[in-house]
Assembly symmetry: C2
Homo-oligomer: 195 residues x 2
Amino acid sequence: METKVLILEDDIVNAMHMQVVLESAEFEIIGIAGNYIEALRLFVNRLPDLLVCCIYLNNGEVAINFIEQARDIKKVPVIYVSAHDDEETLNRVMDSSPASYITKPFTDRQLLVAAKCALHKQMRLSSCNTTPEPTGRELEIIRHLVKGESSRKIADTLCISYETVKTHRKNIYKKFRVSSGYETVALAFHNQWVF
Amino acid sequence: METKVLILEDDIVNAMHMQVVLESAEFEIIGIAGNYIEALRLFVNRLPDLLVCCIYLNNGEVAINFIEQARDIKKVPVIYVSAHDDEETLNRVMDSSPASYITKPFTDRQLLVAAKCALHKQMRLSSCNTTPEPTGRELEIIRHLVKGESSRKIADTLCISYETVKTHRKNIYKKFRVSSGYETVALAFHNQWVF
DNA sequence: CAAACAATCCCCCATTCGGGGGATATTTGG
DNA sequence: CCAAATATCCCCCGAATGGGGGATTGTTTG
């Protein structure tokens, strides 16, 4: 059974973008609302399993009011979408215990990960960047790693010592708190260091 | 210097979606055209470095005519976007030597990969599915692999023998023509088996 | 029904990896 | 100007991988 999703977002382009992305991953969009009243009407009629809410609407409405009313009808996980990646907004929505929080602009992947996490009731934040960046050389090695090249081969193609490549890998593991090449490759995709 | 892109697509939602995606990856959209004439006007005025073209427009126009005229002015790589994933359409556009070919619905990743490949003059097809699917058990193992778990650990959590996990991995390598866990993880992300 | 597929398990062996030590030179930023 | 960051190189060792052989059970499906 598909997960029913209600989107509260007045930017129609962004809303339709989200619709396309979510529909490509077994989600059923039961409606797109541009304001509070419309959202509540759709909510009571269709009883969605997941809410995707823009925090601030252009007409001045704030999603939190709607969320609180909706909660009285049916408890559902919420993904908050924000255009502002600041701590104040973050703290504000945290009080209403969302399931996910992503900031614009976000990638398809970020939205999908947020949605999946929301359904599994795992909190997920995609904001207030604390992730370090790989250095130029590190990124180069990560890209080769993604292609499945061994440290020996990477060393040959980059014309550096095998030991140097190993050192870079060890540094990457420490910096990003992973412990294998596999996790590094996964990380590279999540952070869009590679395509 | 950013790569200048011209989009020929009359579905405005899809066009804006592509704009958002491409702009998030160092591409500059110099214009969106909904028809042949408009596209040619934008082309001669702005001389883009890359074309993204819907093959069939709703008004009955076919992009190939436009492409051939544009080619006389400036040679640029072309990404063809098609709603039909059939061999006939594919053969038809192949004759005009596109740089990439993707079918709707496509993911952000597919579009970006196509764009990057186009710029590097590497042909890329995202159609006529020839990619085999992993079996249930194989997919399960792939997901654990992405998390960085070793074959031994996977065996423990799935309560099967270490040798069995190795066999599954070997089968995966053969089936998808890869030769390492790293490539498998990369493949899993490309094919959206994981998020 | 026979053949293909899926999932399970076993052995061998060379190569690679992960993690633990170091060291030195160059670039860069405050 | 000097400390921090970056990039380079070296050794050791136990564990894991990749690639090559097999084999046995069910299940699906043409």
